[in-house]
């Protein structure tokens, strides 16, 4: 009955940030204008008053640079889904090429297939990203991610980056 108005209370300080909660909401489109432009932001200030720097003491000094949210929309998840599809598609293509590559014991043949796979990932993927709209861009990016992942995980074996692997007995 005598509940005070919520807004009149002292500012919340250590509360879990609202922006961390809703996974999907309408975000303002990024305008490309970040308030601060250094990744070194606050490297040395985090220990000063970690819990009090939120909203209370910054009015008189420089305004705290708000983390600018990205242009997430409901299509964000769809883009990730398409990205996964792109990764699987490239992995399947890569499986075929790698199987063929095992038979190429010379450096030149392996290099040629490596270039083809690189072109498929970045030429094809880049084309899709440039020409498509919305979540479909994720598919093109997925091709590139798959190339990079396979290169890292297999030390270049699957993508032909390490032709010496084919010439050494296992």
């Amino acid at each position: 009955m005598n509940e005070p108005p919520e807004r009149d209370q002292p500012p919340e300080r250590d509360q879990p940030p609202e922006r961390d909660q809703p996974p999907e909401r309408d975000q303002p489109e990024p305008n490309g204008s970040e308030p601060e432009d250094s990744p070194l932001d606050s490297a040395g200030t985090g220990e000063d008053s970690p819990s009090e720097d939120a909203e209370t003491d910054d009015n008189s000094s420089a305004p705290p640079p708000e983390p600018e949210p990205g242009p997430e929309s409901e299509s964000g998840l769809a883009a990730v889904g398409m990205g996964c599809l792109g990764m699987l598609a490239f992995a399947a293509l890569n499986l075929v090429f790698a199987a063929a590559m095992v038979n190429f014991l010379d450096f030149g043949g392996t290099l040629a297939l490596a270039i083809v796979m690189f072109a498929a990932a970045f030429g094809g993927g880049g084309f899709i990203v440039a020409r498509s709209v919305g979540p479909m861009k994720g598919f093109g990016i997925g091709l590139m991610i798959s190339w990079a992942l396979l290169s890292i995980i297999t030390a270049g074996y699957c993508t032909g980056l390490n032709p010496s692997l084919y010439n050494t007995p296992h």
Binding site: G32, S33, E34, P64, A79, V129
Partner: protein
């Protein structure tokens, strides 16, 4: 805790290498953490995916090409093609070019939102997992008299301590513990630094650079000059650059703050 076989297990007749298996596991864990962070911060989009692609491509190239700068004398270094073919799998090289790859990707797509805070906890946990592969397959460290020193088979390459049968520092255990602690610390810091975009990433990278410099004294890497290893020289240059940039940034910011105060005072007076 000796290194185990280079092959962890077999699947349908294919040997699964121990090191690569844990690298894969580390990448998978990092991807899961990144995805969760991106959702929580409302940054899940195709642009973020493109940034991840930039990081991975840069990382893949950096890992392979890091052997290109082994010696100051360029004649002693391998050619680009040789480095590509026989390159070392350096984490530092991978991380450095992953950072470059992120910026290139952002430039290409015109994306200016910071993403470092998404990467920081993901990289920390991913590295903790990935280093298990190193622990199981590589030279543990330099000889030590400490009670937790470990032994490894003499067949481990590039490991004088292994050949001598001496107990050695479990340097990869130190590193795994660091990354786990860093992961926990980043989550503790997250709400406290939420208004300082990019700070989590900076804290993590700075912390890892300092830690890695220190832990190199227990690693079995070759010392090349002044009793320091190649990674230590690489980190020295990196830390100096980071400090220079931090000083420049804070000077610029201090100047901007002073101007803001001056304007505010003038407006109050008038």
């Amino acid at each position: 805790m000796p290194p185990v076989n280079l092959v962890l297990f077999h699947v349908w007749g294919f040997a699964v290498p121990t090191h690569e298996f844990f690298v894969f596991l580390g990448v998978a864990v990092a991807a899961a953490v990144f995805f969760r962070e991106a959702r929580q911060r409302g940054q899940l989009s195709w642009q973020t995916l493109a940034v991840v692609a930039g990081a991975l491509v840069g990382g893949a190239i950096g890992m392979r090409l890091s052997g290109w700068f082994r010696y100051l004398d360029p004649m002693l270094n391998p050619s680009l093609l040789e480095a590509w073919r026989f390159g070392t799998h350096s984490i530092l090289g991978g991380l450095a070019l992953a950072y470059v790859g992120v910026h290139v990707a952002k430039k290409l797509i015109g994306y200016r939102v910071r993403t470092g805070d998404l990467f920081a906890p993901a990289v920390a946990l991913g590295m903790a997992v990935g280093r298990i592969g190193c622990l199981l397959t590589e030279a543990p460290g330099r000889p030590t008299e400490l009670p937790w020193g470990v032994h490894a088979p003499g067949s481990v390459p590039n490991c004088p301590g292994c050949a001598a049968g001496a107990p050695m520092h479990p340097s990869f255990v130190y590193e795994i513990m660091f990354h786990l602690a860093a992961f926990a610390a980043l989550y503790w810091l997250k709400p406290r630094l939420r208004h300082r975009s990019g700070a989590l990433f900076t804290v993590y990278v700075a912390g890892y650079a300092v830690f890695r410099f220190a832990v190199e004294f227990t690693r079995a890497n070759e010392t090349v000059w002044l009793e320091l290893t190649r990674p230590q020289w690489f980190l020295t240059a990196g830390i100096l650059l980071a400090v220079a940039r931090a000083v420049l940034y804070y000077r610029t910011r201090a100047g901007r703050d002073a101007t803001t105060h001056e304007r505010a005072r003038e407006e109050t007076v008038t």
